[in-house]
Symmetry: C2
Subunit: 248 residues, 2 copies
């Protein structure tokens, strides 16, 4: 039965979607059956796999109780898509009966088909992120070590603590991964040191995802890093991260 | 009476807050009285001016009809703050009577005190962004020319068109500004060309805000660019953008 992992951070543009794409690809290459869930009405995850204007998407399934759409990317890698249409039905979801449990129930229906289910969360602490965290065994937090991480990380962990208290006591923060890092930039070095100091109870992955043009290019090409640039340092970093995540 | 301008883009991490801080500072140095409104529950704008855990904030004012809190940053520059507390009352706002008009009414009370009111929008198309756009005469759209801009810009302009159709017919897209750009990166060059091609009806500012470490450092220092590094290229770019915005 699948491990369900939310990739979560309400700060915008810190590499959540990039992490879901490439961690998902790496896990699938290691022989796991992987499902990626696009819980962001921006639909970047879906777009990066070339899926546009999906007729069946996550929000329909959550509201109408229809089966989760599963689009085959490769034999071992599947996608449940979203697009902007989710934004138009999001308040309906927020006001629905048992709103925060709905994703949990839909994922239960498909868990035996997969080894890992990765959920791409939007940059907010609204209903989509809540559903994702409630449905998850684990969450992984990508952090870009800049000014907003200083206080933002605290708010995120408070929300996770609330979800554990009131709805999903089994939710565990599997780890923090530093993303979009320039290893020699003083801001990044001091912020990483600050976070390591203040979040010692949390596991900080050794792998650091560095800033790289190849990542930007792969997404314009609508390909994952392994397909686009298997020899790149960026692919190696995500592949290494996958090993770290499996190991623990 | 103040011109009210939303800095809007539902894509995360494209420099909205950075633009509000530094455009706001530039406008204030040019002799304008400027008010900055933090409509993002992440509260990055407020944090960057050293305002934490504000007892009075925007969400209280919108829900309780109390006066907008105005914190003096400098003689010509004021801030109406937010923090994560807004996230906890956001659904209350969404369900309130006349929700989308509430910011408009609060800003009406202070418009005669200022020449410009800049609104920092969150990375979403939810109630906070809707309130911001309904309250605005203009919006300025920062775009980082990467993969997500390809389709995301369309969704944003559709939402703006809806707001014009149903609630605020006077809302005008003042312009698009390219942000977080590496001028020599092929992805950025081709995406900028693509956007210029497909959005010819819109005004694209000449000023391009380039990637710069100084911007990251200034926010860790909790200072605007003029205070932190007045000789930097980044400050010059935002100062130049301010002139472009005033001129049109
Ligand atoms: N390590 C990296 N180096 C360079 N560019 C990166 C890196 N990681 C992500 N990017 C680029 O930065 C942008 C934001 O990344 P991404 O969309 O993965 O972040 P996100 O957290 O999912 O954003 P959002 O909060 O909007 O969902 C994308 O254009 C992506 O291609
Ligand atoms: N031109 C730039 N060069 C380098 N770093 C930048 C630049 N503009 C912004 N940044 C940094 O990138 C990060 C994201 O910027 P910012 O917070 O302004 O984006 P945003 O659109 O407001 O994000 P959100 O969607 O989360 O509100 C910040 O750490 C900021 O310091
Ligand atoms: Mg994303
Ligand atoms: Mg912001």
């Amino acid at each position: 039965k699948a491990q369900i992992i939310s990739i979560v951070n309400h700060k915008g543009g810190v590499g959540k979607t990039t992490t879901v794409i490439n961690l998902g690809k790496a896990l699938s290459l290691l022989g796991n059956r992987v499902l990626l869930i696009d819980m962001d009405s921006q639909g970047n995850l879906s777009q990066c796999f070339g899926v546009h204007d999906p007729q069946e998407q996550v929000i329909d399934s959550l509201l109408d109780n229809s089966p989760l759409p599963l689009i085959e990317i490769t034999e071992n890698l599947y996608l449940t898509p979203s697009d902007i249409r989710m934004a138009y039905r999001e308040s309906e979801l927020a006001n629905s009966i048992g709103a925060d449990r709905r994703l949990t129930l839909k994922l239960e229906e498909v868990r035996d088909k997969f080894d890992f289910i990765l959920i791409d969360c939007p940059p907010s602490l609204g209903i989509c992120t809540t559903c994702s965290l409630v449905a998850s065994n684990y969450c992984v937090v990508p952090i870009q070590p800049e000014a907003s991480a200083y206080h933002g990380v605290e708010s995120l962990f408070n929300r996770i603590a609330e979800i554990r208290t009131y709805i999903n006591p089994l939710l565990v923060v599997k780890g923090i991964v530093f993303t979009m890092v320039h290893k020699n930039q003083s801001v990044h070095k001091s912020m990483m040191a600050h976070i390591r100091e203040n979040y010692r109870n949390f596991h900080l992955y050794e792998t650091i995802i560095e800033v790289s043009t190849v990542i930007k290019q792969s997404q314009v090409a609508k390909e994952d890093l392994f397909t686009y640039a298997p020899k790149s340092i960026s692919w190696q970093q995500y592949y290494h991260l996958a090993h770290e995540i499996i190991a623990l």
